[in-house]
Amino acid sequence: MKTISIIAACTGLFMLAACGTGASDGNDTAAGAGEVNLYTARHYDSDQALYDRFTAETGIRINLIEGRPDELIARIRSEGERSPADLFLAADAGALWRAQQAGLFQPVQSEALNAAIPANLREPGGHWTGFMRRARIVAYDSQRVQPEEVDSYEKLASPRFRGKVCVRSSDSVYNLSLLGALIEAWGEERAEQWARGIVANMARPPEGGDRDQIRAVAAGVCEVAITNSYYYIRMANGDDAGDREITQRVRLAFPSLDGQGAHVNISGGGVLARAPNRDNAVRLLEFFASADSQRHISANNNEFPASPGVAAPEPVAAHADFTAHPMSVAAFAARQPQAQSIMSRVGWR
Amino acid sequence: MTVALPPSVDIRGVTRAYPGTLALDSVSLALRSGRITCLLGPSGCGKSSLLRVVAGLEPVDSGEIEGGGRRLSAPGFTVPPEGRNIGLVFQDLALFPHLTVAQNVAFGLDRLDRPARRARVSELLARFKLAHRADAWPHTLSGGEQQRVAIARALAREPAALLLDEPFSGLDGDLKAEVRQVVLSGLRAARAAILIVTHDPEEAMLVADDLALMSAGRLLQSGSPRDCYLNPSSLAAARLLGPANLVTARVEAGIAHSPFGAVTADMPDGPATMMIRPEGLRLAAQGAAVAVADVHFGGAFHEVTVEAEGVTAILRHTGPHVPATGPAHLVMDPDRVRLFPH
């Protein structure tokens, strides 16, 4: 009996304590000038500093839920008309496109966004916009591969790299977006040919994350790896001595799509159709797109700034000098389901 | 029978059926305060069902039960057990393992204030010679002690009636007698109406003020133990109360004849069944001629099988010498003989 009462008492206390920290959120989430409710699929520690700065500058409090993109979309849909969500952020154009398809976004016309962000990184209707860029490119073994051997995506699928390519599974949205871009550029048939070539070239069944692909190149498992740019830059400048050593030998190449530049994905966001704090949400989105914020994110997370006028800070600057394909992000984002089907067909796990 | 007080619990024509069996078949019984009624019957005869019905753990299908001037059970109406003021002591005692002896006894006393409760508990513990075990846990007690705790617990609320299911069955030998004595004096001091269920006829007769015989859901006979034993209303009742020799007799002109002797018979001529208790037959120097077929040592007595005219009977021989097999004589005590017409 005693034990039970002790547990009950403890639970009560903990609940009280938890309510104590949370009560202020609960009281004023419904509406109120002073806050914005952010649903984000980006979860980087450095973003917190950004939120703090936004609150310090504007007095607007940020309430935060982090999650995987599609779970957040499902949650916002389930919350329905009473959803408190104001702004949804994701680190992949596909998720933003799916949120738009679900009717979750409202179009936003913002001078600041239009001025800061190139048109191809914004959804044409203004439903969502990117504010950071990440290139899906190639890390290669500099002792075995010449840079010109990886200067186009096509070459990765050529017999030159039979059994020499490391790449993540088709679970990776970044792979889906890359293939989506190829479909947009080449048409479905040629894109499928390419995917078939990649599968034939795989050094091993897809496993692990991008970082693991880069390390596999260093370990000699393969000669080239398809990866996002920031993983490499992070490894090259991180705390891990082993990772830094790897990047001495493994270099980064920016393959070109039809000679127009490397495939670029975005981190971005959109304001929700039923946002209770719409103005604050637009303000926060504009804040993310500001030059200062882009520099902060780039410095900490190693993504590329989206604005052509914003110079990437070190260590990103060393890799920022590349041509990005001018394709609209909305175009390849819409091709993700098609890309998944192709990957299923060609046996890209 | 002179009725001084209305019965504490009056069971009238109670019937209780389970699918396929009639557990209680219009049973009527009155329990009076200060008296101990024993309900005797073979296992499965419906004794326990009667207890559960009286305690309110089961409804009645017909008939009714009254107690303390209130209606307790009727078809479609059952006062729940906690509202009846009738105590029940289960065969397995059902002591609460998480409570000490004193806490078990105090369990039903939640309406008393603390000093009153404490006083009541120590009074009961003293009465049942448990005072020294007040703080013990049930599983550390002996069987007899557990028994007394269960009864003290049930008596704590001063119930109008207390029902006990086979209270002494788990005990053996000397312990049984000793526990029985302590329990009985405790029970009598409580002045509640007591109903004890048992399948042991000796125990029933030793303990009961009133005896009720039950078989196959029906009440066969009720009355004083002596009356029931000596004047069973039927063969079934007779057998319930102890061993009996059943012998076919012939009635002629008011006399019933059997190979072991004759008794007067108040019935027409013809065959009848003669029931002779073992203690109604005694080996003697003269009397009916029989043959001793077998002798078994039984401790305080010898169990002797006798035979006459192809009929066998059993008797209990007490005395210093061992009866020899072979021809012998016996006499029959007419008080221990009953005749039942065919």
Partner: protein, 496 residues
């Protein structure tokens, strides 16, 4: 969910892929089931019936891996044995050979999940061996069986219900796993569910993929319940004597000791040690971690109390509603991703009804409800066992002593069963600490738990940072596991 599955519109997932996912799930479940059955049984038999150095320590320590979330083990092993990881990078030039296995494969995942889930079988088998009747063993010995033959021919068959129950738990956990399998790049049906749901945004095909998983869950629940029914007569024997404990000679004792140590080593020491080692390089945001730990512990406590309360109510009413009790147990075997999708439907109703949806109280309430739904089976079993210690007659006795049904439950049934209620609470507590999918999708604003933080870091491929929250979970769950494990040792009748 079923409704969603039947409502037309399906995503373009190749039938071949679905078959592959299903086969992978089946093989994984089979492997984990077999490995945990063997390891758990042998460990329990060694510890209960033999004497060797360290046996008293191993007896309770072998359950400790229960404190480590499967995803933490996956992080550790995936990282430690990565082809390009420090270990292998060093081995190849230094030792001149490479390890002949890969963690990010089906067999690697089976290894990791077996390490994480063997304690379920171990605990069930240890309880069964502790409670076995000596007479059956002695009869086997007098009929010419050696000690080992007696184990195979008498003890194992008698403990079969416990084995079935333990393996069913391990397999259910395997099917329900979310983080570990994903991290190890093994594509199970869960992968298919997530893919259908996210890329194709098709709830219908996600639900269709989830149906076989739910079917498997129903089957496993049924096995587990059938096994439990068998346990009733197993303890019918009333004579309890101390079990005959065989001292092992030196060589065999060393082997037994090594066997038990390797279980503990691979289940807890190695992965946690590696996580700790790689985490030392980064200094975590302690304030955020402490905050999340507070959230984790309060959620786990609230979840434990609510789940046990509901389980108790269910168990008390189970006689009247046997089907309900079985249905609510389904959540335990439901894969995390499926559960997360399924939970959104009832959550949507609540969200749409309450002003200030996703408010703090609503969020916490939903989470606790989700835990109860997910972990009911884990709580129901011990609660059931505990309440069955209260005989019907004890309850009747209380009624005739003037207490009504409610007072009887409160004063007699619950106190008598309090030990097992506590056990059930601890099981839920440990599981909630490790819980991921429901927490991820239902939690309120600004409310991270340790598991969520660990998962987020792992998604971002920052394993050293993921190590700290994972280790904190182990740290918080350990005392509960130790207590649970030691309690079983006292379960042999007559040793109280």
């Amino acid at each position: 969910m079923v409704w969603a599955a039947l409502s037309g519109e399906t995503a373009d997932i190749a039938a071949r892929d679905i078959a592959r996912y299903a086969a992978t799930s089946a093989v994984l479940a089979l492997l984990v089931g077999t490995i945990t059955a063997i390891l758990g049984s042998i460990a329990a038999w060694l510890v209960v019936m033999h004497r060797f150095p360290g046996r008293d320590l191993f007896a309770w320590a072998l359950a400790l891996p229960l404190a480590a979330p499967a995803f933490a083990l996956a992080y550790a092993y995936g990282d430690l044995f990565d082809v390009a990881g420090d270990l292998r990078m060093w081995m190849r030039p230094a030792l001149g050979f490479d390890l002949p296995f890969e963690m990010r494969t089906l067999s690697g995942a089976a290894f990791v999940l077996s390490c994480a889930f063997y304690p379920y079988v171990y605990l069930a088998m240890r309880a069964a061996f502790l409670n076995q009747s000596v007479t059956a063993l002695e009869a086997a010995r007098t009929l010419g069986c050696t000690q080992r033959r007696a184990f195979v021919r008498a003890a194992m068959p008698l403990a079969r219900p416990a084995l079935a129950a333990g393996v069913a738990l391990a397999v259910m956990e395997t099917l329900a796993d979310y983080g570990a399998v994903q991290f190890l790049a093994v594509q199970t049906l869960t992968t298919g569910v997530v893919r259908a749901w996210s890329v194709y945004a098709s709830t219908a095909s996600a639900a269709q993929l989830a149906l076989p998983l739910l079917g498997a869950a129903v089957l496993l629940m049924w096995i587990e319940r059938a096994a439990r029914r068998g346990r009733a007569y197993e303890s019918a024997g009333s004579k309890w004597r101390p079990l005959p404990v065989t001292p092992l000679p030196a060589a065999k004792a060393a082997l037994a000791c090594l066997f038990c140590f390797s279980l503990l080593f691979f289940g807890l020491l190695l992965p946690c040690g590696w996580l700790l080692w790689s985490s030392l390089a980064v200094s975590p945001d302690w304030i955020r971690l402490a905050d999340a730990a507070g959230h984790s512990v309060s959620l786990a406590l609230a979840g434990a109390v609510v789940t046990v309360a509901l389980a108790t109510a269910l168990a008390l009413g189970a006689a009247r509603l046997p089907l309900a009790a079985r249905l609510v147990s389904l959540g335990y075997a439901t894969p995390g991703a499926v559960m997360a999708i399924g939970l959104l439907a009832p959550a949507a109703i609540i969200w749409r009804m309450t002003p200030g949806a996703s408010g703090f109280a609503v969020g916490i309430g939903l989470l606790v409800y989700a835990y109860a739904a997910r972990l009911m089976a884990a709580a129901l079993e011990p609660v059931d066992a505990g309440l069955s210690k209260v005989t019907v007659r004890m309850a009747w006795a209380s009624r005739t002593l003037g207490r009504g049904p409610a007072a009887t439950a409160w004063k007699v049934q619950l106190p008598v069963a309090r030990g097992t209620l506590l056990t059930a609470g601890l099981v839920v507590f440990i599981d909630v600490l490790k819980e991921l999918p429901a927490t991820l999708i239902l939690r309120p604003f600004n409310f991270d738990t340790l598991a969520v933080i660990a998962s987020n870091y792992a998604l971002d491929e920052r394993l050293p940072q993921a190590g700290w929250p994972s280790l904190l979970i182990v740290f918080l769950a350990l005392p509960a596991v130790v207590w649970l494990s030691r309690k079983i040792a006292m379960s042999r009748p007559g040793t109280a």
